[in-house]
């Protein structure tokens, strides 16, 4: 078989990888190569080295080792029956690309995934080989994220964790029926079984490191997963429920949402409109509410409308506040932190700054204005020394007053 030049294959295999939303390089152990051996460093926080016009961060070299695949998942551009151009890299070629990009400060590291060739085990071995060459032969100290294949042997998945900073397995679809219909070769139980094994390996390694300094680290940046939004009929309420179960059961670092987007060579089993990109954004906002604002999953679900979908015109926190108006207004000079975090328009930082500030002064509307983006949105929900909303909280048209006016779609810029 003749191989097209590296550039051609890079284009094909990067194109094939772009439907994975994650490009995070955060949360791993700190490393550097100050000793003059090896290459690279990691800080606690990842760096986005570039942004594409789709607004996504480019932090890692995100590639498929190959886009040949024996599976036939309908939402996936690389499915067996798709007519896309196929290509493959050898592990050494991926290593060379990673190093030459890294040396020029284009990237933080590598995010490697693959179509399934020959067998799940064979594919997993190839992925591991890339990570091994980088770490062992080049003492690469940058970030490595390996996608692991749930059907592969547990020992192989475990090896991946020894080389990688982060490992991930995609649950793909929020419902089992969706999975059965759109990913006929995959199995929800196998996927969650593999996630469970990873989760316990990560916890064990973490414990061991506490007791023995030299214990090997295992995926120090934890595991994450991705769900495709809008390819099956799952509602936002179902998705939020699924995500919170996953966070609980497998101690995930992140659940990524990827709005299903029209892919070339799409399968006609997806006779559907593209979900609005805003839906993905609303789901991330609800994710934030659960992780940083003390919302229980049921509370986020309460913010959905009758069809189980989060409203698109307003954010989920405002939607919740409009449904539970008896919880407002919140007195910023007296209320506990939890109550203040519920105020739409007040972020975690602003809340903490107000709490610090109110030890020194009585909070007035001007003080709040300095700490937040828009005090106008806040006013119906707060009480300050010089402000008390009269009746505003009870107005029937409050939603209309706070929702942003309809906008024409931007064409450019």
């Amino acid at each position: 078989m003749s191989h097209p030049p590296v550039l051609e294959r890079l284009k094909i295999l990067a194109d094939a990888a772009k439907y994975d939303a994650s490009c995070a390089s955060s949360g791993t152990a700190k490393r550097n190569s100050r000793d003059g051996k090896g290459l690279g460093s990691t800080e606690g926080m990842g760096i986005c080295h570039a942004y594409a016009p789709d607004g996504r961060c480019i932090s890692l070299l995100k590639l498929l080792l190959t886009n040949h695949c024996i599976f036939d998942c309908h939402y996936c551009i690389n499915r067996k029956s798709s007519n896309v151009r196929r290509a493959r890299f050898t592990p050494q070629e991926v290593v060379d690309l990673t190093l030459s990009f890294y040396r020029r400060n284009y990237i933080e590291g590598l995010f490697l995934s693959s179509g399934i060739v020959k067998s799940s085990n064979h594919t997993m071995e190839q992925l591991i080989e890339v990570a091994r060459i980088l770490r062992e032969e080049h003492e690469f100290r940058g970030y490595i994220h390996l996608k692991t294949i749930p059907e592969a042997d547990p020992e192989l998945v475990e090896q991946a964790g020894l080389w990688a900073d982060r490992v991930s397995i995609n649950v793909e679809l929020p419902t089992d029926t969706g999975l059965a219909r759109l990913a006929p070769d995959k199995n929800g139980a196998t996927i969650e079984g593999a996630m469970g094994k990873l989760s316990s390996a990560i916890t064990e390694a973490h414990d061991a490191r506490k007791r023995f300094r030299k214990a090997p680290s295992f995926a120090p940046a934890g595991q994450s997963t991705q769900m495709i939004v809008g390819a099956d009929g799952a509602s936002d309420a179902q998705i939020v429920g699924k995500a919170s179960t996953l966070y609980d059961r497998f101690a995930l670092k992140r659940v990524y949402y990827s709005a299903f987007s029209p892919i070339p060579e799409a399968s006609a089993v997806l006779p559907l409109k593209r979900p609005p990109l805003l839906r993905e954004h609303r789901l991330y906002q609800s994710d934030w509410l659960m992780r940083f604002y003390g919302f229980a999953p049921q509370e986020v679900q309460q913010a959905t409308e009758e069809d189980g979908m989060l409203p698109l015109d307003i954010d989920p926190k405002l939607a919740w506040a409009l449904k539970f108006r008896d919880r407002f207004p919140v007195d910023l000079n007296r209320a506990p932190r939890e109550a203040m975090l519920r105020v739409p328009g007040l972020g975690v930082k602003a809340v903490d700054a107000i709490i610090m500030g109110r030890r020194h002064r009585t909070i007035r509307l001007d003080d709040v204005a300095r700490l937040t983006v828009s005090v106008r949105k806040l006013r119906p929900f707060i009480v300050t020394a010089d402000w008390r909303p009269t009746l505003l909280t009870d107005r029937a048209d409050l939603r209309a007053r706070l929702a942003p006016p309809a906008q024409q779609m931007e064409l450019f810029g």
Binding site: I47, A52, D54, N105, P184, S267, P271, A353, D367
Partner: protein
């Protein structure tokens, strides 16, 4: 009024010494005018104020938090930062917890400047682009040109040393240049863009990557501009691609929709079998639909418990516009009769509704539909399934099975057993009768036997279904 000029504008220690002396002598911020010297090595200006006021200096205190924030603020390019810092230090002597009050205007200004500096530091780490050159002694060196907004070059050097200690590199900026020789860091004079190499062969790969990782189906230019403002673009090789990518995006998405995904976007699911019969006549969503043949609708009782799905109409079926009336249909009839399954009570249809063929003289030779064509036509088959709600579906051949399962199964491996669908329907696979027609001799005998066995199995399933 005392004028203080800072010799090295980003030297926190120098500012701290001067500020400590002033505050220790009780010099009010209103009586001091701070300014920046011309830059590196400008030593004329250190503190020309009188030291002998007769009183002993009082101890000046500053919180850890203030020191941290001041170390960032001193790097800000705004000359006013020095006065602000001194005023904050002065106020801190009376209000040690001043910095906790984020709503205070001075504190807010300090926080804002510190944030801008931290952001600039972060963006420098992100956007420095090295180009590889071979220097005069034949060694490889990585050289970058960068224009930071604030005076962050020295403060940021450590990051690059930690990351790239094993390679030799230089970062050139309008204020100064930094050089790492693999061992130690050296500082050089200001540089200009022309001092840095103009190209690097690897950039072609990087640009190719940047173009390919971009998803034209989701354009969010505002989001990109927020994180990668235009002022950085001139030193980012990949930024050259942006306007092309944005312009092409709308076009590319439109083309993708035209060829794929949203073929049925405007459609509601068909509400009746008549609607499907009309719909398939009009359907031009795949090449077979466009070949001018007649569409062939399924037929049978609308409440059938058994549905039979073949591949596509053949020559005879197309001419008569009825499914399974040709040779394969006759073979199926006979085999079903022998197995004791009544063909008349079944709804018979095909995975693909038009006849795909290649003309050979006067004859039209059957051609298999592609997976893509079957998948497109599945919209209609799904419609029939939804309306008829069969309990059991017999799939004839791999194409029929694909229309039902959404994947191409191996008939040899999966025939003769029930595959339960998410909606509870049982799908039963067997070979397509036209396959049997193409065989002869021993193979024909064997395959006919297996076909009969499959249908006998189907009869048992139907009987069981009936009892439950």
């Amino acid at each position: 009024m005392i004028a203080i000029t800072l010799a090295v504008p980003d030297d926190f220690e120098e500012w701290r010494d001067a500020a400590r002396r002033l505050a220790g002598r009780g010099v009010s911020p209103k009586a001091v005018m701070w300014s920046d010297g011309s830059g590196v090595g400008d030593l004329f200006a250190s503190a020309p104020f009188s030291n002998d006021r007769g009183t002993a200096p009082v101890e000046v205190r500053a919180s850890r938090k203030f020191i941290d924030i001041a170390r960032s603020v001193i790097l800000h390019s705004d000359a006013e930062r020095l006065n602000l810092l001194y005023r904050a230090l002065w106020r801190l002597q009376k209000h040690p917890r001043l910095l906790d009050d984020a709503a205070d205007p001075d504190v807010a200004a300090l926080e804002r400047m510190a944030k801008q500096v931290r952001r600039d530091i972060h963006k420098m780490r992100a956007f420095v682009r090295f180009r590889s050159v071979i220097d005069e002694v034949g060694d490889e060196r990585y050289v970058a040109w960068f224009e930071p907004e604030h005076r962050i070059e020295r403060a940021n050097a450590d990051f690059f040393v930690n990351r790239f200690a094993s390679q030799r590199w230089s970062i050139l900026t309008p204020r100064l240049s930094l050089h790492w020789d693999g061992d130690s860091l050296m500082e050089g004079p200001p540089a200009s863009r022309g001092d840095a190499p103009a190209e690097d062969a690897t950039e072609e790969l990087w640009l190719g990557y940047y173009r390919s990782i971009f998803n034209p189906a989701r354009l969010k230019v505002g989001m990109m501009l927020k994180e990668m403002p235009r002022r950085y673009w001139k030193n980012l090789p990949e930024a050259r691609e942006i306007s092309d990518l944005v312009a092409g995006a709308h076009k590319r998405e439109a083309a993708m929709i035209a060829t794929g995904t949203s073929l049925f976007e405007q459609e509601n699911a068909p509400s009746s079998l008549e609607a499907i019969a009309e719909g398939i006549v009009q359907c031009r969503r795949c090449p077979i639909g466009c070949n001018g043949t007649r569409a062939v609708m399924g037929e049978g009782p609308p409440d059938a418990r058994l549905m039979i799905v073949g591949e596509q109409p053949g020559d005879t079926e197309e001419r008569e516009s009825r499914p399974f009336v040709g040779p394969a249909g006759q073979l199926l009839d006979k085999a079903m009769q022998e197995a004791g399954v009544e063909r008349q009570s079944a709804y018979v249809t095909n995975a693909v509704k038009h006849f795909k063929f290649t003309p050979r003289g006067k004859r039209r030779l059957h051609q298999n539909p592609t997976a893509g064509e079957i998948d497109i036509c599945r919209w209609w088959l799904d419609g029939e399934r939804t309306l008829i709600k069969p309990k059991v579906i017999l799939a004839l051949g791999a194409s029929g099975a694909r229309g039902l399962l959404g994947r191409t199964p191996s008939i040899g491996k999966e025939r003769g057993r029930a595959i339960t669908q998410p909606d509870g329907t049982l799908v039963w696979l067997t070979a397509h009768p036209s396959y049997l027609l193409r065989l002869d001799g021993e193979a024909r005998e064997r395959e006919h036997g297996r076909f009969a066995d499959d249908l006998a199995g189907l009869a048992r399933v139907l009987a069981t279904e009936h009892r439950t």
